[in-house]
């Protein structure tokens, strides 16, 4: 039943983009093609569509975001007089547009017209929306516009092109996989960030990396709670940790992290990844059976509680507050725990929540972002 739906979707795609070779590739979709093909140097083959069937496997255990990530959208280019552009874009937003962009570079007309690019979800009726918006603003006639179906791989590629090697601190570089490391002798972490968080540029990643540099002396077991692209787990191994585990609720993150580990020549004997469901914190092994790439990464014994020497969680305020007990339960007494992804103004809230669990709490800050570190209390939990 489900498969028929995939084929129906596929024929719509083939007709709008004119690709006839899609059908043979469709039979064995592989997640890794998504990340291999995004490399801007190789031929882009609209890889996002290949993973559509796989994204349906994940909808049971992840957010709906994986299926909306690759869903088509409508991109509409509207021309309207310059003086009402602002008001008109606000009106469009009220009537159903998901976003409007007003380009300051007027390259459409030298006259008083300006172009607004608007994005609508596929189900919206663009004509109705535009006419309602024009009506509410007071335009006498409906402005001219053209509708295109958005190509989702374009913007994935575009954002990836903007990554440069980043020097986090002396001797530590984060290098995208398509660039060469500027300093070959330094510790270089090669990344293909894909759609997961963690490129090394963000202040929170930097704070965590600096913290790791201080905490990891050699031989520790490390847990990256909310691993994203796997950057912290990989960095821990490069600094000398003996064993790294990365967990995340987003399957895209797990795939990205696995890919990045391979880029840095890190094997499953000292690096493991686990996909956890967002409701509970324990990994659900039977849901993994749907995933094609069943490697030894997933075969981890459950009795991993209370065995990590260093834990870092770079997520957001609310998850940190909710999962406080779970995060700390994975650490052995006296272990170092780092928390980030919080704004400086949110630090008091975190300190309140974690002071019964941690000793020696210290805060470091870059820009508006903060990182909290402490050691798990020796007695009690």
């Amino acid at each position: 039943m489900a498969l028929r739906h995939f084929f129906k979707h596929l024929t719509i795609l083939t007709s709008s983009y004119g690709f006839c070779t899609l059908s043979s590739r469709f039979i064995h979709p592989s997640l890794t093609t998504l990340f291999n093909n995004i490399n801007p140097k190789t031929q882009p083959l609209i890889p996002a569509k290949f993973s559509l069937p796989l994204s349906h496997c994940y909808t049971s255990l992840s957010h709906p975001s994986t299926s909306t990530l690759l869903s088509p959208y409508l991109s509409v280019r509207i021309r309207c007089p310059k003086d009402i552009a602002d008001v008109f874009s606000e009106a469009l937003m009220c009537f159903g547009a998901s976003s409007t962009t007003v380009d300051e570079d007027d390259n459409c007309d030298t006259s008083n017209e300006i172009c607004i690019e608007s994005i609508f979800p596929e189900s919206e009726d663009v004509d109705v929306c535009i006419s309602l918006a024009a009506d509410s603003v007071g335009l006498k006639m409906i402005p001219s516009y053209e509708v295109k179906t958005g190509e989702h791989y374009d913007w994935i590629k575009k954002t990836q092109e903007s990554f440069d090697p980043v020097e986090v601190t002396e001797g530590l570089w984060i290098v995208p996989v398509w660039k060469t490391p500027p300093d070959v002798k330094a510790t270089n972490i090669i990344l293909n960030p894909g759609l997961a968080f963690g490129t090394g540029e963000h202040p929170t990643t930097r704070l965590c990396l600096l913290l790791l540099q201080r905490l990891i002396i050699g031989g520790e077991r490390f847990l990256d709670y909310g691993t994203g692209s796997g950057i912290l787990a990989i960095a821990a191994l490069k600094f000398g940790a003996s064993f790294s585990v990365g967990i995340d609720i987003d399957p895209l993150a797990i795939t990205s992290a696995r890919h990045n580990a391979a880029l840095n020549d890190i094997g499953p004997e000292n690096f493991q990844l686990r996909l956890v469901s967002s409701n509970t914190s324990s990994p659900s092994a039977d849901e993994h059976k749907d995933i094609q790439e069943q490697t030894s990464f997933e075969a981890v014994a459950e009795s991993e509680h209370e065995t990590y020497d260093v834990i870092v969680a770079n997520i957001l305020l609310n998850p940190l507050l909710e999962l406080a007990d779970d995060i700390v339960s994975h650490a052995r007494p006296g272990a170092a725990i780092g928390l980030s992804g919080i704004l400086s103004e949110q630090v008091p809230c975190i300190i309140d929540r974690y002071s019964p669990l941690l000793d020696n709490i210290s805060v470091s800050e870059i820009d508006d972002w903060a990182c909290l570190s402490g050691t798990k209390k020796l007695s009690g939990n």
Binding site: S99, P121, H152, K158, S162, F197, H202, L343
Partner: protein
């Protein structure tokens, strides 16, 4: 008013992008992805920043964000709280306003609701200089255009 220094160092603006994103739910997917990706802005940085700043709102409330993208691929953004109409609909528990406002009353709300909404709106950059009373008055005005009647106490 901007100082001379600010004017001299003002970065050229490439575009102004308006988006509606659920609080705490920014992801590199449509609508955020294509809109920002076009100007090569760091998607992930925006998502993280936006999610961190909207943590105090209930998840999935639609926040309106205005992003100013500069030509050097950097950006700034301001987040506005959801529109008054959205709050009113939520408070009244209705999907859409009355079809004939002024003639047909869709539902009623008490002054308490208006007061709560005004308190949230006061932290918006646009309303900070207004007194709570005037914010309430404008909310009542919006309510009447939607066909929502405001009474002193709900029975």
């Amino acid at each position: 008013m901007s100082t001379l220094k600010e004017i001299l160092t003002r970065r050229p603006v490439a575009a102004t992008i308006r988006l509606t994103v659920p609080a705490g739910g920014a992801r590199p997917a449509p609508p955020v992805g294509p809109a920002l990706g076009q100007y090569r802005l760091n998607l992930m940085a925006f998502c993280k920043d936006f999610n961190a700043r909207t943590q105090k709102y209930k998840p999935d409330t639609p926040m309106s964000v205005t992003i100013t993208a500069f030509k050097d691929n950097t950006f700034e953004f301001t987040v506005k709280s959801p529109s008054v109409t959205w709050y009113l609909k939520k408070a009244a528990g209705i999907e859409s306003g009355s079809s004939r406002p002024g003639h047909l009353v869709a539902t009623t709300l008490s002054v308490r609701h208006i007061y709560e909404i005004a308190k949230i709106k006061q932290s918006d950059p646009y309303c900070q200089y207004m007194s709570l009373e005037s914010i309430c008055k404008s909310i009542i005005g919006t309510a009447s255009t939607m066909g929502i009647k405001v009474v002193k106490d709900l029975d």
